[in-house]
């Protein structure tokens, strides 16, 4: 594990296990593509391209990597399997951005607003985050601003109970911006350190719903001028190329600062992390590699790449 020794063994195991499928399906395929070959030929390049594309890395990013590989093969005439792995590791590392490890300490509550399309796991992610922040000894307040989906508030209340944190809510159907206003005021008054706002899932092509997000954001700034400090877009790892469109549209409406990628353990195609990192200059902050509360891990690109290739 080398330089990554300071990460707990447990966390590393979970990550390895969560990425197992992706590794098997993508990176072992690449190894097979070049197995027994002394050099990378046209056929191997095709196979590598297929492996990359079928991992949901995306056509654009895959072709970019293949283009570079082709260039290198042309230049050096010879590149063997272990060199290929190193090459891919380097290239992928260049495409990805690292996130910060700890949330910054600021004067007043640090407000995280969680957005995303329907069914990506926003509420579950918030529940897990609340638990983790609480474990770190932080005072957390949740804001139940998904007032639309049936029983969304109840779901968040259960998570708040489990994590032992405060929650601010109104009845279903109430104005989400008003819930956020209340939440921020309450958090400010009680001296909370972290506020996490749950919003209703919305498809990114629904103009009115996207406008609503902009409004919510503006209302928050009335209570705490810099809020929300972090707009976190939650993406489902099994989503294909539409993830890119989601990132584009949500960024337009709310200026997304960070990404959380859920359900990575369920897909054999974890490549979407790489494609998104490449096409957006937004860091991946969390990845979900299992069902447990602690399986939502802070993303570290070196650890991630290490898990894929070793």
């Amino acid at each position: 594990m080398g330089i990554f020794g300071f990460f707990s063994k447990d966390k590393k195991d979970k990550l390895d296990k969560g990425l197992e499928k992706t590794k098997e399906n993508v990176f072992n395929k690449i190894s097979r593509a070049v197995a027994g070959k002394t050099t990378i030929d046209e056929l191997a390049l095709d196979d590598i391209e297929e492996a990359l594309i079928t991992s949901d890395i995306g056509v654009e990013t895959s072709l970019k990597i293949i283009g570079k590989l082709e260039g290198r093969v042309l230049r050096e005439k010879y590149i063997n399997t272990s060199e290929l792995n190193n090459f891919l590791k380097e290239e992928i590392s260049l495409l990805m951005k690292d996130s910060y490890d700890e949330i910054p300490v600021i004067n007043g509550p640090y407000v995280i607003m969680v957005v995303g399309v329907n069914g990506v796991g926003k509420t579950t992610t918030i529940g897990k985050l609340a638990h983790q922040f609480k474990q770190q000894g932080k005072k957390v307040v949740l804001g139940a601003a998904d007032t639309f989906r049936a029983a969304a508030v109840d779901q968040l209340v259960i998570w708040a109970d489990r994590a032992g944190v405060e929650i601010v809510k109104q009845h279903m159907g109430s104005d989400p911006a008003s819930v956020c206003f209340d939440t921020l005021q309450s958090a400010k008054a009680s001296g909370a350190e972290v506020v996490i706002i749950d919003t209703a899932g919305r498809l990114h092509n629904k103009i009115n719903l996207m406008n609503e997000l902009t409004k919510i954001k503006n209302v928050m700034a009335k209570v705490i001028p810099d809020a929300p400090h972090d707009v976190m877009l939650v993406l489902d790892a099994s989503t294909g190329q539409n993830a890119i469109e989601q990132a584009t549209q949500f960024t337009k409406a709310t200026k997304v600062n960070s990404l959380a990628l859920t359900k990575l353990d369920g897909t054999a195609k974890g490549g979407v992390v790489i494609g998104i990192s490449d096409q957006f200059q937004i860091p991946v902050r969390y990845i979900g590699v299992g069902e447990g509360v602690d399986d939502l891990q802070v993303f570290n690109k070196n650890e991630f790449i290490d898990s894929l290739f070793n």
Binding site: I53, V117, G119, G121, T124, R149, A151, G240, Q241, K263
Partner: protein
Amino acid sequence: MFENLSEKLDKAFKVLKGQGSISEINVAQTMKEIRKALLSADVDFKTAKSFTSRVQKKALGEKVLSAIDPGQLLIKIMKDELAELMGSEQSEISLEGTPSVILIAGLQGSGKTTFSGKLAFHLKNNKNKRPLLVACDVYRPAAIDQIEVLAEQVGVDVFQDRENKNPVLIAENAIKHAKTNGHNVVIIDTAGRLAVDEAMMSEIAAVKKAVNPQEILFIVDSMTGQDAVNTAKAFNDKLNFDGVVLTKLDGDTRGGAALTIRSVVDKPIKFIGTSEKMDGLDIFYPDRMASRILGMGDVISLVERAQQQFDEEEARQVQKKIAKNQFGFDDFLKQIQQVKKMGNMKDLMGMIPGMGKAMKGVDVEDDAFKGIEAMIHSMTKQERENPKLLNGSRKKRIAVGSGTSVVEVNQLIKQFSQMGKMMKMMQGGGAKQMMQMMKSQGGIAGPK
């Protein structure tokens, strides 16, 4: 829906434009583009590959008639091929058995519970059934509350047991309950599960064994990427499901999953979900979807949606009023509301052939009629019944009251009177006359 794919294919076909026949050379480049477009649309790699080579084989050597260009010919070949790939005809769900049991399965967040509510709504309203919704998701917090809220919305009963953590027992008890309470359909909503989760997959297999469902539906998020193949296969291996439901198609996903799944597991797509509202459920028509993918529009769905919303009795009333020259602004307002009920304006426009592309990047807001509605709401009852009353000062008042301008009010009145004329002509059998009139006006001016 599939705007993006259509667009990409358009681009690919441009290469072919102006060629006399389809040859090895002119088709190769196009096929490469098509394959890339399909891949970007999340179509499974192997499916895309075999699809393009099949199309290529069929296309090669085809003589291009002088009337159509090679692009069009290729579109036709592709459309037929696409429709075939997605199952050449639509397939309904089986409602045999008393009660008939429908088991819902899928990944987390794919939209199972929302679909269950929609299906109950559909069966109750369109099939005259008495469905029972069963809450078998014993894991996710508030899952039972969610299904209860939806059941109340659509007006059906729910079977739940908060003390019981065993989905198999809950499902069995639900069927007993359905039998004694006269429910003829039982819809079992289950917890979301990953295909790789052995324990959870065995659990749903056990539910299947216990209740022996007539119909097992696999719910898939239409935004799913390359993993759709694996997931569909895994669920199929375990459950041998009968059909697929594609959800969230009102997003702008390119929907490659629709192309892939049928070909990989050989199971029909039976429903599509198109909104968060309980009536946002459509039957899947492969041929329509194929037309749509290729940007050829979906007129049949549009007409059907209109039929669902327009009340025949009301239409007769309106006709009477028109005949008697009594069609007023209130009736106009009602018509607008009916159009609005048909769904998202952009969706509707997308179904009109040729519009899909034209609508790219144009935002049609759901409140496109807002101005018109506000103006009508600002009129008095007398003014609405008798538009002739509207003089200068009344128009001014309406403009102020609705936050519009006198110019806009005038426009509305003009549109309204033209519409009245047209309707009269239609009644008098003067459809031809009307067409001419529309032509001379360039069609009825739309909102805004």
